[in-house]
């Protein structure tokens, strides 16, 4: 039956651990169905529900077909325009602003993780090719953890998931792979079958916790305190791995003296656990090795987020659980991203324009946008993100956007963000374009080829960048350095080097059309025990951290962050059928997951007189929202949960800087999970 289809290779480019390879089945120019690609060694031909549902995304009745112009902005009066008109309007505005301010600094780009493909760096490349422009920099997701891992090990590695089959103990620390990384579960189940014990540590009794042998509930953000309590117990009972510490770490004496002074009682109080739970974890770490720890992203979205990750790294190191098969403290990796990133670097010939960016903090975008005066930002290009639903300070953002003269959004659908745009350009999906995608978790690289013609008049971002560059250079020679004459395939080609080919065991990128390839990195992270820190060892005491005004110690207790006016913590937890604001509009998912609501413990609700499914009020320092209440005994009585794709939640969020992020991602993370709120029933 399959002979009648043409089969093409694709990658799911979303911000997801799995980065699955997909096979597309096309008949008569129509994509008929999708399935997983068996040649992918990690995802093994399996997709998640979102992946299987891509057909309904590609052919969604609401998908944008043509460039659209909204006039006046916010009016909802949309008019179809031609690409020529769209490009003319945009290029005209760029030139006009360039004349007015004698620079391109009034042009800003805000791009994030909606598509992680390498060719989706086209717009950044385009902006770089204009000389110095304004740019959203930083990262709302993993900044604090990236810095923490950098301070401890010097670079970012993960182990192959097969490694877990050698583990005796698996600690899923603040991660809910049942919802966010389903392909890993098979490896975990197999490890279980071979006798490993699985422990989940989380403030929420997650679906993953429900599958685990043991669940340990802690207070939100207290992961570092829990690690410190365990470390103290390990010290007191002489359970640390002296040999490992001597050979592979620096700063042990300093860290030990520091932990000695800390109070166990305070540590237990901060994490909300018992000494029995601490003893259990300490003994698993010391006596049931190798221990594989997987750290989630939520725990580092706290004011002490980087420190939480450092504490777990230190705990793994002091028990000798790093670099050995089946062990490790896993977070995320960059080792396989060996691309040249030439797409980012079309530097202008015009020497008057100096390349570089005027940074606007992506986590404090609204304020940073308003602050710019010399010159002010007047033009904003939004791509690979739904800015209005995924930003802090959303009211300020709306205000700041009013001062702009042209807002362009590249999208598949009309969103909250397009309401605030003047132009919306229809983008192709991964079934209509070329790309290359790597994962921040596993070690496979996959190619993405077009299966079908672009949907109606949609275009790839690369094509849009080329068109715009060409138009600008018609106005004025060398205005834009972004290449206008390179084919998509050439853009792919220039991302590879001989070294990269060697690591992939191929000679040409086209071989990826035969199936995804694993990049030849160590199977066990830090297996060679070579660390890229200044000392060449794991730094339990980091001078680099100290130099950046942080605690040098890899562990510590929390400062009191409680606020009597806002006694509850609202956690923003990812749900399984959406990735942030993506996949919101699919019929089958609407059936699966209920109307957005806030979850709270029934006893807390009772105390507050809040009925299940009634409307309740949630107030933070920033603002207040009215939302439907739902009950969950998965939470404790001081914690609430909401899924972050709920547009309302932004009203509660401002920018609270996390401790780390500046080194690796040019900006501190946002402590999104330090969201202190109060609740009342709606009278």
């Amino acid at each position: 039956m399959d002979q009648t289809y043409s089969i093409t290779r694709h990658v799911c480019p979303r911000n997801c651990y799995s980065t699955c390879s997909i096979l597309g089945y096309t008949k008569n120019g129509h994509l008929q169905k999708v399935t997983g690609d068996h040649k992918h060694g990690y995802t093994k031909g399996l997709l998640c529900a979102k992946g299987y549902n891509y057909i309904n995304n590609v052919y969604h009745p609401d998908r944008l077909k043509y460039p659209m112009r909204q006039y006046p902005r916010g009016s909802g009066q949309w008019q179809r325009i031609s690409w020529t008109e769209a490009i003319d309007i945009i290029a005209g505005k760029i030139i006009e602003l360039n004349h007015r301010y004698e620079s391109n600094l009034s042009l800003a780009l805000n791009k994030y993780s909606g598509n992680m493909g390498i060719l989706h760096h086209a717009m950044e490349g385009f902006f770089n090719g204009l000389g110095k422009t304004s740019r959203a920099v930083g990262n709302p997701c993993w900044s604090p953890g990236m810095d923490a891992v950098y301070y401890d090990y010097g670079e970012h590695q993960t182990s192959d998931m097969q490694d877990i089959l050698h583990s005796e103990t698996i600690i899923l620390w603040g991660i809910n792979p049942v919802w966010t990384s389903i392909h890993s579960l098979n490896y975990i189940y197999e490890a279980l079958r071979r006798g490993a014990k699985v422990i989940t540590i989380d403030p929420v009794y997650t679906e993953t916790a429900k599958k685990s042998d043991t669940y340990i509930q802690i207070k939100p953000g207290s992961d570092g305190a829990l690690a410190t309590a365990i470390a103290k117990y390990i010290l007191e009972h002489d359970l640390f791995d002296r040999e490992f510490i001597d050979q592979y770490t620096v700063g042990w004496e300093e860290l030990r003296d520091y932990i000695d002074q800390l109070s166990m009682e305070e540590a237990l109080n901060q994490c909300g656990q018992t000494i029995e739970a601490i003893q259990f974890l300490a003994e698993r770490l010391a006596k049931h090795r190798p221990v594989y720890i997987w750290m989630g992203f939520g725990m580092q979205r706290h004011r002490n987020g980087g420190q939480n990750i450092r504490a777990i790294n230190a705990l793994a190191a002091m028990t000798g659980n790093i670099g050995r098969q089946g062990s490790g403290a896993q977070f995320g990796q960059r080792a396989t991203w060996k691309f040249t990133y030439h797409i980012l670097n079309p530097f202008p010939d015009d020497k008057r324009n100096k390349a570089g960016v005027r940074p606007l903090d992506i986590n404090d975008f609204a304020n940073d946008l308003q602050k710019q005066q010399d010159p002010p930002v007047k033009f904003l290009w939004i791509t690979c993100r739904n800015l209005l639903t995924q930003s802090a300070n959303v009211e300020e953002l709306k205000k700041a956007l009013q001062t702009l003269e042209l807002i362009v959004t590249v999208e598949h659908f009309m969103t909250e963000t397009t309401q605030y745009s003047d132009l919306v350009l229809p983008a192709t999906t991964q079934f209509e374009e070329w790309d290359i995608v790597a994962s921040y978790w596993h070690h496979w690289i996959s190619i993405n080829q077009p299966a079908i013609e672009p949907y109606y008049e949609s275009k790839s971002e690369l094509e849009i960048a080329r068109l715009l560059s060409k138009k600008l250079n018609e106005y004025k020679d060398h205005f834009s350095a972004f290449p206008t004459d390179m084919e998509d395939e050439q853009f792919i080609e220039q991302e590879f080097t001989d070294e990269f080919y060697q690591a992939l065991h191929i000679k040409d990128w086209r071989e990826l059309l035969n199936g995804p390839r694993r990049v030849d990195v160590q199977k066990t992270a830090w297996g060679t025990m070579e660390f890229k820190t200044p000392s060449g060892k794991i730094e339990l005491f980091s001078k680099q951290a100290l130099d950046n005004q942080l605690s040098p110690f890899g562990m510590g207790l929390m400062e009191n962050g409680s606020n009597p006016l806002f006694p509850y913590i609202l956690l923003l937890n990812h749900e399984p059928f959406r990735i942030n604001s993506q996949f919101q509009n699919l019929t089958s998912f609407k059936k699966i997951s209920r109307e957005p609501c806030i979850y709270l413990h029934p006893l807390l609700a009772k105390e507050k007189g809040i009925q299940r499914y009634s409307m309740m009020k949630v107030v933070s320092e920033k603002g207040e929202i009215t939302i439907r209440a739902n009950f969950s005994t998965d939470l404790n009585q001081q914690t609430l949960v909401i899924f972050p794709n709920h547009p309302l939640v932004n009203k509660l969020i401002s920018f609270t800087a996390a401790d780390m992020g500046k080194v690796m991602t040019s900006g501190k993370g946002n402590a999104l999970n330090d969201l202190h709120v109060n609740i009342t029933k709606l009278c």
Binding site: N53, N186, Y215
Partner: protein, 186 residues
Amino acid sequence: MAKKLGFLVNIERCIGCHACEISCKSFYQLEPNMRRRRVQELPEDVVGTPVRAFVSTACNHCDDPACKKACPVGAYTKREDGIVVHNQDLCIGCQMCGKACPYSVPMFNPVKKKMDKCSMCYDRLDVGQLPICVEKCPLEAIQIVDYNEVQPANAVSEIPTFADTSITHPTTHFILHKPGKQSRRF
């Protein structure tokens, strides 16, 4: 002896990811609001509080199929191996089967104006392939079992939320979830 094929759904392994449901839907190119398999969250009392679990069900390929009895044009047949097959060519879209099935399995296809239901992917089984949902469940939580051959240990045929099995004698069986240890304290 003839076979008695049925699904064995392992609630212990299932994570509720809906991949079975949506992969089937993609394979058979079903309309946006249609599905042949559905995944539901089980209420707490099924597996003991406060553990909750998920159950994935499709057509139960019953021993005594109500759909078949209700169909006025004989669109349903029960194969030797137990699979209940719906023949869309014969179907007149009267929806009697959907009303008769205690599990509301047959669904109306609004475009074809005919009923549609899980076929246990018999055309795949016939050539030695697994049904799509069985193959695509990332956790191998769905199996096809010949219940005339084996009676899997711990398998139960009734769970709350599942309609009275005495009406149609469904072949689907379930393996229940065992809760782990918890340290929850504040």
